[in-house]
């Protein structure tokens, strides 16, 4: 008898948990349809955008949502989007419903973790739909033909921000709060540090890894700890830099932004920042698709990359605390990027363990695929990539 009651209670509890999980998985609202400017008789191209967080987070997702807004201004484009989709099976359901219900033929699932296995699985299921992933995970020999990847060399912006930071810091210590030690993040850390050390060779960058894209308490804690340790310029690579910027401002230290313009959050300490400029990129994809080019017929390259020169990013306007010397040095670097003559990664370059990564005389241009596999931290960074 005793056992039966327990078992029944167990089933009750278990089913409660099950229902709860299922309900949770279905809870977010259905995709919000954007304005549908299907003017002429021509069928509009439906583009679906999926973000991992809210659309106005002052960060990664806001940058993509602004890009989507830009693309939706085109008369032949109809856009749908959904925010706050976790990197789980849920994103598959969202993609499926965009394809089946909204008729999306082009999808931009923007978060890093959407790729494997979610995009890959859906791409096999829907070979006529094109999936564009923001990041560097695509491999031509392994992945389906209707999957492509796009990403910008935003580390160019971080390099310039690093120059400004290097010429602003009084303690010689910069801080970088990062979410995960993946290549794109490491590249930003390294470029930031290289930028700073190009103008002040003894500058060090203290790295703190929070472990996840959105960890407000840990990010605030990290910013506070760094301020305690004498770091006086902070930047970050997390989904929403809002907490980091506000905490830096509260502690009276400087910060440089990332993803979007955060100068409003830190009016005193905001120096500059690396911002995405996706609307041009999304619009150019739409133009290409309208002209009949696709990933499958080879009209659109599977890997699309670009930097400052190609309009993938912009640099925030300099804050009031930036000295004229810093402005001058940063502008000079920007000119070189725009002219295509700047090489960030050139020998002899050592990692922070003292190992030579790029031998003297060699250089890795921005387009070099080696740089997308980055798993090291440059000399001058205090921190490690592993556990």
């Amino acid at each position: 008898m005793e056992f039966r009651i327990r078992r029944r209670r167990f089933i009750q509890l278990g089913s409660g948990v099950m229902i709860a999980t299922v309900a949770h998985a279905c809870s977010p609202s259905s995709p919000e349809a954007g304005e549908s400017p299907s003017t002429s008789g021509e069928k509009p191209i439906t583009m679906g955008f999926i973000y991992v967080g809210p659309k106005d987070d002052y960060g990664y997702n806001q940058a993509h949502a602004e890009g989507k807004e830009g693309a939706s201004k085109l008369s032949f484009v109809k856009t749908v989007d959904q925010a706050s989709v976790p990197e789980t099976n849920e994103v598959q359901e969202v993609m499926r419903s965009m394809i089946e219900k909204d008729g999306a033929t082009v999808l931009f699932p923007t978060s890093f973790g959407y790729f494997d296995p979610h995009i890959l699985k859906l791409a096999k299921e829907y070979p006529d739909v094109q999936f564009f992933h923001c990041g560097g995970l695509y491999q031509a020999d392994k992945h389906p033909k209707n999957v492509g990847s796009y990403f910008g060399y935003i580390d160019e912006g971080q390099y310039i921000a690093g120059i400004v930071a290097g010429l602003t810091t009084k303690t010689g210590k910069l801080g970088f709060i990062a979410a995960k030690p993946i290549p794109q993040v490491l590249r930003n850390i390294n470029s930031y540090t290289l930028g700073a050390r190009s103008v002040k060779p003894d500058v060090k960058t203290q790295l703190i890894i929070t472990g996840n894209w959105s960890e407000p308490v840990k990010e605030a804690e990290a910013a506070n700890s760094m301020a305690d340790q004498g770091v006086d310029v902070i930047t970050c690579h997390v989904d929403s830099p809002k907490v980091v910027m506000e905490t830096a401002e509260k502690r009276g230290i400087f910060c440089t932004g990332y993803h979007a313009n955060q100068s409003a959050l830190a009016p005193k300490g905001y120096l500059t920042g690396a911002e995405w400029n996706w609307s041009g990129i999304y619009s150019s994809y739409a133009e290409k698709i309208k002209a009949g080019q696709t990933l499958m017929n080879g009209g659109i390259p599977h890997l699309l990359r670009g930097g400052l020169k190609d309009g993938y990013l912009t640099i925030s306007a300099y804050g009031s605390q930036v000295s004229d010397a810093a402005k001058k040095a940063a502008d000079a670097a920007k000119e070189k990027f725009l002219a295509g003559t700047m090489v960030v990664y050139k020998g002899e370059l050592k990692d922070n363990q003292g190992k030579v990564i790029i031998p003297a005389g060699k250089e890795q241009l921005q387009q070099d695929p080696e740089l997308e596999k980055m798993d090291w931290l440059v000399e001058g960074v205090i921190g490690s990539t592993g556990v």
Binding site: Q12, L13, S15, G16, V17, I19, A20, A23, H24, S27, S29, G53, P54, D56, D57, Y58, Q62, S84, T171, K173, Q206, L207, I208, I209, T210, G211, S214, E215, P216, V217, K218, E219, A220, E221, A222, N224, S225, M226, A227, D228, Q229, G230, V231, S240, K242, V243, E246, T247, R251, G252, A264, L265, I382, G383, S384, V387
Partner: protein
């Protein structure tokens, strides 16, 4: 000069600061849950209450700053968060006292409901900046900015600190405290005394939920001081587990909250001085602690000392 680099002393300052800053939500949620569980009910939904509280405090503070000024608005925000907690508490109390309704299942539903409400209504408050609660600068004696910053204490924290002994006294030495304990320990005896069990539980759950809501305002109006969907990162659930750790004793809830708040700061503080071995482990410490406590305390063979006798049983 001392401000330039505090080195290993800085780690302690950072953990101290983190403890004082980060323990506010733990403290309020665990005290709220303590009261609820003393009356014999479990409210797992406090995670949702925490989020709703955080959102409503932030929203109200932001919306009222124009009318009331940025000094008063956050305090109205705190009240709003308490009110939001009270409402969610009412729903939980009403549902969980229906016949053949399991309070764990209702609690899980309330987590989803509370967070859903908060995410839905909070969408437009992610970007704006709401006026924050003032802090008491107890570090004025020090010239080291790190110490000054660590000792910027929220009045909410002091309120929570005071609440713990008051609750302890309430349970031990007041008639009402006795009634709550009787309902939680031995509902039959309480019934024989002529006490309305549903009424006592209703009040306990609602007041407990009110505390949790106020804890949420600590997240959004004090530290880290923003509204975002990931603001709580499971702190509400951890605080519920923490009550077991604290053996249903409000004073021990206080210590346990400080401990958990400090554990959160450990990972970043150690990385800031260049110790990044075992980073994942340090970051996982609060969760690990919760798990360990659950394993250690949940034995099927023995009951816990201090556990209310009728906890989680069907009425």
């Amino acid at each position: 000069m001392a401000s330039e680099a505090l080195g290993s002393v800085g780690v302690f300052v950072a953990i101290l600061g983190g403890t004082l800053r980060g323990s506010v939500p733990f403290l309020f949620v665990s005290l709220g849950e303590c009261l609820t569980e003393k009356s014999g009910k479990i409210n797992l939904g406090l995670e949702g209450t925490l989020l709703t509280g955080a959102m409503s405090a932030y929203a109200v503070s932001f919306l009222l700053q124009g009318k009331l000024g940025s000094g008063l608005a956050p305090w109205i925000g705190v009240m709003a968060s308490g009110l939001a907690g009270l409402c969610l508490g009412f729903i939980h109390a009403w549902l969980s006292q229906q016949r053949r309704v399991n309070d764990i299942a209702v609690g899980i539903a309330m987590i989803i409901f509370g967070s859903g409400v908060a995410f839905f209504l909070g969408k437009s408050f992610i970007q704006p900046k709401a006026p924050q609660l003032p802090t008491l600068d107890l570090g004025f004696w020090s010239t080291v900015p790190a110490v000054q910053s660590a000792l910027k204490i929220s009045p909410l924290f002091l309120f929570g600190m005071a609440l713990a002994p008051v609750m302890h006294w309430f349970f031990r030495s007041t008639r009402w405290g006795l009634i709550v304990r009787a309902v939680g320990d031995s509902p039959d005896a309480a019934l024989a005394m002529g006490i309305s069990i549903p009424k006592v539980r209703m009040i306990s759950i609602m007041v407990g939920s009110l505390f949790a809501g106020i804890g949420g305002s600590g997240l959004s109006l004090y530290y880290p001081g923003i509204w975002s969907e990931n603001i709580s990162s499971g702190q509400g659930l951890m605080a519920v587990a923490l009550v077991i750790f604290a053996r249903w004793n409000p004073i021990q809830c206080l210590w346990a909250s400080l401990f958990f708040g400090g554990a959160q700061a450990l990972g970043p503080a150690l990385q800031a001085v260049g110790i990044d071995q075992g980073r994942y482990l340090f970051n996982a410490i609060p969760y690990l602690l919760t798990l360990v406590i659950m394993v250690l305390t949940c034995s099927p063979r023995k009951t816990l000392t201090g556990a209310p006798g009728a906890l989680g049983e069907k009425s």
